[in-house]
Amino acid sequence: MPEPALQLSVSLWRGSADGRYETYSVPRRESQTVLDVVTYVQRHIDPTLSYRFACRVGMCGSCAMTVNGHPRWTCRTHVAKVADGGRLQIGPLDNLPVVKDLVTDMQRFFDKWQQAKGVFAPSQSRAEPMARIRPDSAARLAADAAIECINCGVCYAACDTVRWNSAYLGPAALNRAWTLVNDARDAGNPARLATIAASGGCHACHSHQSCQEHCPLALNPTASIAGLKRRATAAYLKGELKA
């Protein structure tokens, strides 16, 4: 097995949308993550470098960046897996406005979660008995398959439809809507289905499956969106939706 390079050549995006890549030399370490590399640059080379991270263990979803052309969670991406000949190019996530350096403005990403009615709408008060949901029920299993999203924005950055259609809600918001559509306790489905069946909703998806390919948690938003398409189409054909 070849020895890893002693130094990495790391190109980092600097500035806002009209910025450029600048190259830094970073020592190669064992078990080094891409986030370690970015942190090294900020701590030892240029303290003005801006980037986001919080938990460093793949839970918070704040450290996603574009690494050698692909959106990735940087805290759990090992350099050994992605460094091509000891080279790394790290930029901000696509499909989101760049604030500075590696930081994007996530506002529209989270606005779309709200727009897709990604908020639980309770059907009962706390005075009523707790809902009983069988763990092996079809709806619970469907929700389970989609529920571990950490809002990192990787799928949103990878999505071609988001790139082409700014009104499209995107894979993360629709995936979240799918979990709630399958939540027997939720009372928000009429409004939710009306939103996701409208222009920019689930039917805009081309099923390219980039979201599934890049999701760091191996979720399948394309399958969730396909479920929403079926559900919304059935509701429309039954006359429950106006479009």
């Binding site: 439809t161 082409w164 259609n165 009104a167 069946a197 409208a198 222009s199 909703g201 039917h203 805009a204 398409k229 919304a232 189409t233 429309y236 054909l237 939706l241 479009a243």
Partner: protein
């Protein structure tokens, strides 16, 4: 694309599957039999069956293609949704007029 357009596009796509197969079979038959245009017109002239077959086919194609064109314009051109919709409606009407004219030529003229 909203759910209404989605349903129309999928429904017309499903409808077109047998029509496309029959259409291709007809093309193969006509070429293998070395039929001339006059031979074909002599068989289709006055035929309610061919008129309804190609009439429905043209209607399905016009609806299906115009919805697809609307999607392309929405995603690949600077046109707003509404403008893209009107362009697609115009294209659909043009396709329908050309198609129905061909059907009339095949069956009546």
């Amino acid at each position: 694309m909203n759910v209404r357009l989605y349903v129309w596009q999928r429904a017309t796509a499903a409808l077109m599957v047998p029509f496309v197969l029959v259409h291709i079979a007809v093309i193969f038959y006509a070429t293998r039999q070395q039929m001339t245009a006059a031979d074909i017109l002599s068989r289709t002239h006055g035929s309610a069956l061919w008129a309804s077959f190609y009439g429905v086919f043209v209607a399905a194609v016009s609806i299906h293609a115009s919805i697809g064109l609307r999607n392309i314009l929405t995603e690949w051109s600077p046109l707003a949704d509404r403008s893209a919709g009107w362009c697609a409606v115009c294209a659909g009407i043009a396709l329908a007029l050309l198609g129905f004219y061909a059907v009339v030529a095949l069956v009546v003229m």
